[in-house]
Symmetry: C2
Subunit: 221 residues, 2 copies
DNA sequence: CGCATTTATTGAACGCGTTCGATAAATGGT
DNA sequence: ACCATTTATCGAACGCGTTCAATAAATGCG
């Protein structure tokens, strides 16, 4: 699909049309017939470029991940400490996704679906998942954490970040103030945690958790 | 729907048929036409008793919750400490849900869908959610925890339990051994945590987390 | 250029969950 | 026992995502 130059253009046009309609009317309310129509082609043709409707969302996720990496770069350049970096990264991401909130609230459910093209646990999305965790690995690389705490933190933060996203897509407070407050609260708890992780108090516990999650295949590698 | 005596019987027959088919062929592979047919009625009649296909899953969740409460009773009667209670409860639940794993793996995605009848965050399921958290409240009522730690723990455990369920439905290891191992690992980390929570070391951090989550409306009440 | 192969495009058709208006059966009050 | 109202049952129809066989257009190679 989309192997020729014209093909790539058509695919691009289709994707742009789809995204615009998703943003305007939501994912579920937008029909494949609407999308094909809006892009000036027949229904069947759309399936030449995307194997399914949700596959378009996967493409959107890919795009969002590019933006995430840039936001991480900016946060790393601007801040030395993990809490500050996290705060900057998450607030920036949320602000950027503000126009997409409605479409995301429709679409978030596919995340938990292993068979969906937009599912985080879909084998086809292994690379996307790895890149997403890698973003948090880089944010964590401040020298504050060591050993198993450092191994755990990226995956932990990624999971929490997914939970925050779930909260975000359903947050109807003005400008999503509640989600921003949730982030602030969570980030503030991180400082004391890092301080504790430096003492030997938490070490045995963190070692054990690291081993358990690692055995379960939930940590990278 | 199902207001007369015969009506209740028909509804029961429909539900039993649906559940049997879900367990045998999975949720997605089972058609409303299959269900109606198997229960000896026309397609349209099924919708007189359940407003949608997933609504049948909600009824199943309700049933599972009854069983959860009984399992909690048993765990509380048999064990004094939170880790032991949790371990007993979770292992028992997993063993009981073993035959439903396939259907649950189809169905888990609706959990994150706020508009789905089977969604945890659906307003219509507020009571189900409250009952689910209440199970963990009772498990936590051992005297080991106090203050904000005691307020946090039930919701924390419920969330983790949901994550474990997500792991479970996709666990293809024999007899879901990996999920059971994950539970054991998680429960073992709980003892050290409780010990720490008794010292004043964690108190400020837990207080802060409690306030943040409470402000976000994520804690009970 | 000519031609085989690949890529692009089409619209009808399918299966699904769901909706709907019509009709039959059961119920309850007098 | 009668009739008004509620409950139950039916099957056709709708809208959706998706599939498919057919055809057109573009491409690349000798």
């Amino acid at each position: 699909m989309a192997r020729s130059k014209k093909g790539r253009q058509t695919r691009e046009r289709l994707f742009t049309t789809a995204l615009a309609l998703f943003r305007e009317h939501g994912f579920e309310a937008t029909t494949m017939r609407d999308i094909a129509n809006g892009a000036g082609m027949a229904l069947g043709s759309a399936y030449h470029y995307f194997p399914s409707k949700v596959a378009m969302v996967t493409a959107y996720y890919d795009q969002t991940l590019d933006a995430d990496e840039e936001r991480a770069d900016a946060a790393i350049a601007a801040h030395e400490s993990l809490p500050e970096r996290l705060s900057a990264f998450l607030h920036a991401k949320l602000r950027a996704l503000e126009p997409d909130q409605r479409m995301l609230s429709d679409v978030f459910k596919y995340t938990a679906d292993k068979t969906s093209a937009a599912g985080v646990f879909n084998e086809d999305n292994r690379e996307i998942r790895a890149r997403a965790v890698a973003v948090f690995e880089r944010l964590c690389d401040t020298g504050e954490l060591k050993g198993h705490a450092l191994e755990l933190m990226p995956t932990l933060l990624w999971s929490t970040h997914m939970a925050v996203m779930l909260y975000f897509v359903h947050d109807d407070s003005p400008r999503q103030d509640r989600t921003h407050a949730l982030i602030d609260g969570g980030v503030e708890a991180l400082g004391p945690f890092i301080a504790l992780a430096k003492t030997p108090l938490l070490t045995p516990m963190l070692d054990h958790i690291q081993k358990t999650l690692s055995d379960a295949g939930l940590l990278k590698s």
